[in-house]
């Protein structure tokens, strides 16, 4: 395997892994507060589409990422109102968001860009001095768009906030024993509402990362189930952000290794190559499933005084 192929492999790993990591971060925040958001796939597509449009109009990738994030927040308002405030079934609402997000973005893209399929080019990479000169990892890991570094910093910040601060403790209490949080003077509804909005923001950002930085274009249904993988990663990580990061990058590596295997002339069926990331996730689940932890109040609407 040549240096160029290794560089391409690492770039491919990051391109496939980072959108998943951001989406799984959002899902983690939501699930820790007791809200299961199955609409993450649709929210990613909405974030990706509107981020894509913003970059086309402004040529600014940062603005595109911001717009994608805000689009994610806006679309998560549906989950907020219907499931958190009105107590409707979170699974049903989540699936509805996914279907709506997929359909709306497909229609909008086909209508507005279907005949031209514009692409965005490359965002200017942040070349980290000295480190970017190291063979293989330099041009791959240390010459990524700025959002790569920012995303890792965000992950570290979320880990610290979730486990080391009082708001983080309140968030986890809302998912584990919401009545206790309520009795202690905290607002379960407010905590969960903010968690849903934060989850939407991260999912939208993940979709925008996929469209703007990993692909450089938007195409209908381009997430191809990434939102559901994010839910699996979240379940597996049990609220540990470091696990979210590692699992996402393992997924990315297993996606990129499929092409690397083909380039080395190892003749594997395409079905096996395509299944590889899912097989790895499933094996990990089988190994760790017994210790998988789900917040006791996950997907259970909170009603004060209800038993």
């Amino acid at each position: 395997m040549t240096e160029a192929i290794l560089v391409a492999f690492l770039i491919g790993t990051i391109a496939a892994g980072m959108p998943l990591m951001l989406a799984a971060l959002g899902e983690t925040i939501g699930e820790q507060s007791g809200v299961l958001n199955l609409g993450i796939e649709g929210i990613m597509l909405i974030g990706g589409y509107f981020g894509f449009v913003a970059v086309l109009m402004t040529q600014s990738f940062w603005l595109g990422l911001l717009v994608g994030t805000l689009a994610g927040v806006a679309s998560s308002l549906i989950m907020l109102v219907l499931s958190v405030w009105l107590g409707l079934n979170q699974i049903v609402v989540g699936i509805a968001i996914t279907l709506a997000g997929s359909g709306i973005t497909s229609v909008l893209h086909t209508q507005n860009y279907g005949s031209t399929n514009p692409r965005l080019g490359l965002d200017t990479p942040w070349k980290i001095p000295f480190l970017s000169d190291i063979p293989v990892v330099g041009p791959s890991i240390f010459s990524q768009p700025g959002m790569f570094t920012v995303a890792l910093l965000i992950a570290a910040a979320v880990a610290w906030w979730l486990h080391k601060t009082n708001p983080g403790l309140r968030l986890r209490a809302a998912g584990q024993k919401p009545a206790s949080l309520d009795a202690a003077g905290g607002s379960v509804l407010r905590t969960r509402s903010l968690a849903v909005l934060a989850g939407g923001a991260f999912s939208g950002l993940g979709g925008a990362y996929l469209a703007l930085l990993s692909t450089g274009a938007f195409t209908p249904f381009m997430t191809h189930g990434l939102g559901y993988i994010a839910i699996v990663v979240t379940m597996l990580a049990r609220g540990r952000i470091s696990w979210v990061v590692v699992a996402s990058l393992v997924y990315g590596a297993s996606v990129a290794v499929g092409t690397a295997i083909q380039l080395t002339n190892i003749n594997l069926p395409n079905d096996v190559i395509k299944m590889l990331p899912f097989i790895i996730v499933m094996i990990t689940l089988i190994v760790f499933a017994r210790s998988a932890y789900i917040p006791p109040a996950l997907a259970v609407p909170y009603t004060r005084g209800a038993r």
Binding site: S115, T116, S214, P220, M222, L263
Partner: protein
């Protein structure tokens, strides 16, 4: 219950059943338009029918710069040339195909082009049930008067592209990026590799699939194409519908220090790229002659007695003209074309993934 009350009820039931039966028969008679479209009769021989309006049904819009584009453009060209009306039913997707095709048959069309391999079964069923002649693609059986198929000798066109690629590469490595395990993609991949090796057997052909059915996976397309380019390929032969967007992004943003060219398949992508010079050429599939012949056969009452082919010889497969094709390349392509037509060049039709790999492994 007395006999006097049971009898009228029975009579009423029998009457109701008779009325329903008659209604069903009448409905069936209305649905089957065989009477005025050349009903095949017992011997399956159709009578000629004047085609005054025909329809094309495609799964996506013509903006795919490939399969759908070429089908729709060819149908429009034929409609213009023959002065008949085209009923364009593009972008219908792959769901409820039989219902859609049946509805198209009911719209007064004298001929339907079901332009997707995924429409084959439904197209054949609709052709037989409605009596409206249906043209499908890559199907294994014709039905006289009702169903005929278009077959493409895709390996021949791809062979010419392989010749052009081999004469263009400076790195002596060319790439093939495929979005799905598709019969036409297999035949084209194998034909392309044979064309490359015919010019220089020492050239390396790097082949990578996105997956078994990832036609629209643009992110995967970019990822795979980028890795193929990293493996040294400076000419990419791409097959992929929506995944093509990813291929083009990978090529346009490649940081190689030398130009990377793209060879498209089926349609024209020059309008879809930022810099048209990255497109070396495209293997164009020209359906117009096949459609015209099908209409002529319907009018002669011979539709469904044979399949229609796209070949290099009949002009169904051509390389798109481009400034990147130098005189030297064009001369080599022309030589290969003559060889295919006169039979001195035999292009193996690779119909499976293993067959394609065998061609590559042999070098």
């Amino acid at each position: 219950m007395s006999r006097s009350t049971v009898l009228p009820r029975r009579l009423a039931k029998v009457g109701l059943a008779a009325v329903l039966g008659a209604a069903l028969l009448a409905t069936a008679g209305c649905t089957a338009r065989g009477g005025d479209t050349g009903d095949t009769g017992d011997n399956g021989k159709a009578e000629g029918t004047k085609v005054e309006q025909f329809a094309i049904v495609t799964p996506e819009k013509e903006s795919d710069h490939g399969w759908n584009q070429q089908g729709i453009w060819a149908a429009q060209q034929v409609a213009d040339e023959l002065g008949i009306k085209l009923d364009d039913n593009s972008n219908v997707g792959y769901d409820n195909t039989e219902t859609i095709l049946s509805q198209v048959a009911e719209k007064g069309n004298d001929f339907i082009i079901a332009h997707a391999s995924g429409f084959n079964t439904a197209g054949a069923r609709v052709g037989q049930s409605t009596g409206v002649p249906v043209l499908v693609v890559d199907y294994d059986q014709n039905v006289p008067g009702k169903v005929a198929t278009v077959m493409t000798e895709a390996q021949e066109g791809a062979y010419l592209a392989g010749v052009a690629a081999a004469m263009s590469t400076t790195t002596k490595t060319v790439g093939v990026v495929v979005s799905a395990e598709d019969l036409n993609w297999f035949t084209m991949s194998g034909g392309f590799a044979q064309g490359v090796y015919s010019v220089d057997p020492s050239i390396s052909v790097v082949l990578a699939y996105i997956g078994p059915a990832e036609y629209g996976d643009s992110a995967g397309g970019r990822n795979v194409a980028a890795q193929v380019i990293a493996a040294g390929a400076d000419v990419i032969f791409g097959m992929g519908d929506g995944a093509t967007v990813g291929y083009l992004q990978a090529i346009e943003t490649a940081n190689t220090g030398y130009p990377v060219r793209y060879i498209a398949t089926i349609g024209d992508v020059t309008e879809a790229v930022t810099d048209p010079s990255i497109v070396l050429t495209s293997v164009l599939w020209n359906f117009a002659d096949a459609y015209k012949q099908a209409i002529a056969d319907i009018e002669a009452g011979t539709f469904g007695e044979k399949s229609y082919s796209l070949t290099v010889e009949n002009g169904g497969l051509t390389l798109q003209e481009s400034d990147q094709l130098t005189d030297e390349i064009l001369a080599a392509v022309e030589e290969a074309k003559k060889g295919i037509i006169d039979g001195s060049v035999k292009v193996e039709k690779t119909t499976t993934k293993d067959a394609v790999q065998a061609v590559i492994d042999a070098h």
